[in-house]
Symmetry: C2
Subunit: 189 residues, 2 copies
């Protein structure tokens, strides 16, 4: 049950038994049904989530009511509105489950405790943020330089098999076209 998350920690830090146990003791397991909102824009993001099963989406709803997806979080991804979480102020984004999912929650306060007791986790979360930073830079370049067709292809590579698990309209909201146009793109191949 804890394997996925321990492996995830191990990607960036080495923990002894006590450190691992302490970290796990702060995490709360949660089963979330499809369509559950884990964060709503305007609320404060009080938890960071690690996904062990299913898939979440982090997205923005504009004034016209259209959704734009920043990122999907399938298994082994972390989900959070980072601006809201670290400032503990109202969120601009939403987090929703796209499938029946299983997550581990870590509250803001518990993360602080974790940093204090096991400083290695500062490093761990810094690297996570850094990796996200790098991914987002690439995504900006993609959106500036590539056609919808190329972005669709990149989406498939970044999230293997995910396109068959989620609605096409979410793919559209991620690559930045209308659902109608995704339909046209699929026909072309």
């Amino acid at each position: 049950m804890f394997n996925r998350i321990l492996n995830n920690f191990a990607r960036h830090v080495t923990l002894d038994q006590d450190e691992a146990d302490y970290a796990l003791s702060l995490l709360k397991y949660k089963n979330v049904k499809k369509h559950t909102m884990l964060l709503r824009n305007g609320e404060t993001c009080r938890k960071i989530y690690f996904v062990t099963k299913g898939c979440l989406r982090l997205y923005y709803t504009d004034k016209e009511g259209k959704d734009h997806i920043i990122s999907f979080m399938p298994e082994n991804w972390w989900a959070v509105d980072i601006a809201s979480f670290y400032s503990q102020k109202p969120a601009t984004y939403n987090i929703e489950a796209l499938e029946d999912s299983e997550v581990f929650e870590l509250t803001y306060q518990d993360q602080e405790k974790l940093y204090e007791k096991v400083p290695k986790f500062e490093r761990f979360f810094r690297i996570l943020t850094q990796n996200g930073f790098i991914l987002y830079q690439r995504r900006i370049i993609q959106n500036l330089s590539q056609t919808a067709e190329e972005r669709y292809e990149k989406f498939r590579r970044r999230y293997p098999k995910l396109e068959h698990r989620i609605a096409q309209k979410h793919v559209a909201a991620y690559i930045g076209v209308t659902p109608v146009f995704v339909s046209v793109l699929r026909r072309r191949r």
Copy 2:
């Protein structure tokens, strides 16, 4: 001469005299002429730069030879290819001076020393990365949801007065349109 950078540190960490002196001792001042390349794609990014005068650009050149600008760095901004810097592997981006500029350099090795001697700087650079992360998320949303005209407006607000200091083609490469179309946009107002 060191005021700008000390103020920049002070935004996120509080330093005593010794800590400030030590940090400054690792920084090397450099005068860079317009058009100087501080980093070329393929080279390893060995330094992080703090700009005290002028303006740099961080950009990607695609297979067709077109430039796409991730970010401008005028006074008080930090410039680096973060993926290359932290992995010490070849860069995918370029950094170039758009004006005669003045920067402070900090090498990878010296940053490591700094982290060791003054751990507060781990926090400082983590917050910088976090802020960049947040900005990039917003930019992705903007590119997905807004027209060229709106993105032009946002560019002006993010970088006040900068549009009069740099070539229009660089504005175009930042907002993701052709220089020709920026010309059309300007005429409209």
